[in-house]
Amino acid sequence: MKTKSPSEMKAAVQREKKLGLATRDAYGQVLVELGQADPRIVAVDADLSKSTKSGLFGKAFPDRFFNCGIAEANMVSVAAGLASCGKIPFASSFASFLLCKSFDQLRMSVANPSLNVKIVGSHGGISLGEDGASQQSVEDFALACALPKFTVLSPADEISCRALVRLAAEHVGPVYIRTGRPKAPIIYTGSEHFQLGRANKIVAGEDVTIIANGLLVWEALVASDLCRERGISVAVIDLHTLKPIDEAAIIAAAEETGAIVTAEEHLLSGGVASRVAQVVAEHHPVPMASVGIADTYAESGTPAELMEKYGLTAKHLVQAVESVLKRKK
């Protein structure tokens, strides 16, 4: 048997990857709980309720669930009508279809009058895997963030998903929540505090801060472990709310560590990298590097293969950390 080096042994005991529910499953469960507590909660879906998990709500409350068929534009405007009469509609479909097919309905039916509609896009990013580019969503953050007064959320695991969906239901105003298809590694214990617009610092560090959301939060944690073995101290922030962005947390990270790496399962344009860079550039310029999807659509493959091929793993984050450190004064 090959003997492990001390650092390898340290890494092995440091972080055990425990897979929890997919965030879409956590969403479906908490939506039922919300429905039990508040009769104003209603749900609409576009013939994907088995996949988005809004079907759980439909089973529990058949009178308050409206399957709109494969007609996303109508669904979003129906949700707007429900909201304008006092309901709290959750409209679910795949992230790609919701944002791309119904963008004008999100713009004029929902965002313009700032209605209390919750848009939940499952199968976010590319980690849904084999179904390929038409079902994957690499531009939903950019589109959702472009809608005035929208709150934009991307939970990292089932625990944060439950908390954020509850907060979204309490918040009066339009919200977009991205959920994911694969089981998500557990990040949180359940005792953490969540607040919309307030990023969660998960790991403290001195040399670089990784600011991530969604599944990339786990990769950031692994990257911070790998960096520690190399003598680099990396802080990790879960930017679960992309909009309104937590400027204070980003400015503090820039001040404290002097270098920032962003990480997201999204195009490098219009998501975490762009939005964090704007805050950093305006308030406290420091060297930055970003991990995300280059200017392209992805393809079919297993989730792990895709995350590797499109550069979204801890290994890629370590490379980004090393590159940004070279530019740090």
Binding site: G69, A73, V78, G81, L82, Q105, M108, N112, P113
Partner: protein
């Protein structure tokens, strides 16, 4: 207006038409043709059909009205002002910077506006959602949506038509202001959407085909819609674009061009006759 007789409604419609041409001339931009074609339908709604309280615009039991063809805004604004939602003199701020009277209606900017429209095709869906909310709350308010025939080019309209029929939303009435023209020309030439009555019937709607400038027929159609159960109703109102001002009638130039001051004077003179 209590017990609006046909004669009283005709007078109100003339008043609205004068407001429309005056507002659009003052704004120096806007859509006279489609506002005038809808003027009788909107008059019937606001002065006779709708259950509403202008002094209490957020009354939860009110009937809802959505102008899905948002470019007809001047007709709606005139009806809101003339029924007391806001002072009539505000009409002259149409399209001016800072005015709540936006070029197309926006919910939250102006009292009495139920949805932000102007991007065509969304009103029927929004109205369906409102009617479903009423059903869940066991309220008996009705929802009226006025759309254009050009607007029926939009795919979302037909998504909404399927949806409202499937869910048997009988408290939803859609009025189709069929003035036979759209921006680029006659609908029959741009993208022919006839036979409209057959299409809506095939989608599961009750359809009433009538003259949208004859108050007797208009009121009868609304009555029939109210009595219809188990399905939504489409009121196919046959109208004339620019109705009431002879040189604007069926004149494509007045789809989206404001009258000159001379044309305004001629319009007012004709409407006063």
């Amino acid at each position: 207006m209590e017990n609006g007789t046909i004669e009283q409604l005709q007078k109100k419609a003339t008043l609205l038409r004068k407001d429309i041409v005056e507002m659009i001339t003052a704004a120096a931009s806007g859509h006279p043709g489609g506002s005038l074609s809808a003027a009788d339908l909107i008059t019937a709604l606001y002065f006779k059909v709708l259950r509403h309280k202008p002094s209490e615009p957020e009354w939860s039991d009110r009937d809802r009205f959505i102008l899905s063809k948002g470019h007809g805004a001047p007709a709606l604004y005139a009806a809101l002002a003339r029924t007391g939602y806001f002072p009539v003199e505000n009409l002259k701020t149409l399209r001016k910077l800072g005015s709540p009277l936006q070029g197309h209606p926006e919910k939250g900017k102006l009292v009495g506006i139920e949805a932000s429209t102007g991007s065509l095709g969304q009103g029927v869906s929004i109205g369906a959602g409102m009617a479903l909310a009423g059903r869940l709350d066991r309220k008996d308010y009705r929802v009226y949506v006025l759309m254009g025939d050009g607007e029926a080019n939009e795919g979302q309209v037909w998504e909404a038509a399927m949806f409202a029929a499937h869910y048997k939303i009988d408290h939803l009435t859609v009025i189709l202001d069929c003035n036979r023209q759209q921006l680029d020309g006659w609908t029959a030439e741009i993208l022919d959407i006839e036979p409209l009555a057959d299409k809506w019937r095939a989608f599961g709607w009750q359809v009433i085909d009538f003259n949208g400038h004859d108050f007797g027929q208009i009121l009868k159609a609304f009555d029939e819609a109210r009595r219809t159960t188990g399905k939504p109703t489409l009121l196919l109102a046959r109208t004339t674009k620019g109705k009431g001002v002879s040189f604007m009638e069926n004149n494509l130039e007045f789809h989206g061009v404001a009258p000159t001051t001379d044309q305004l004077q001629a319009s007012l003179k004709e409407l006063d006759r």
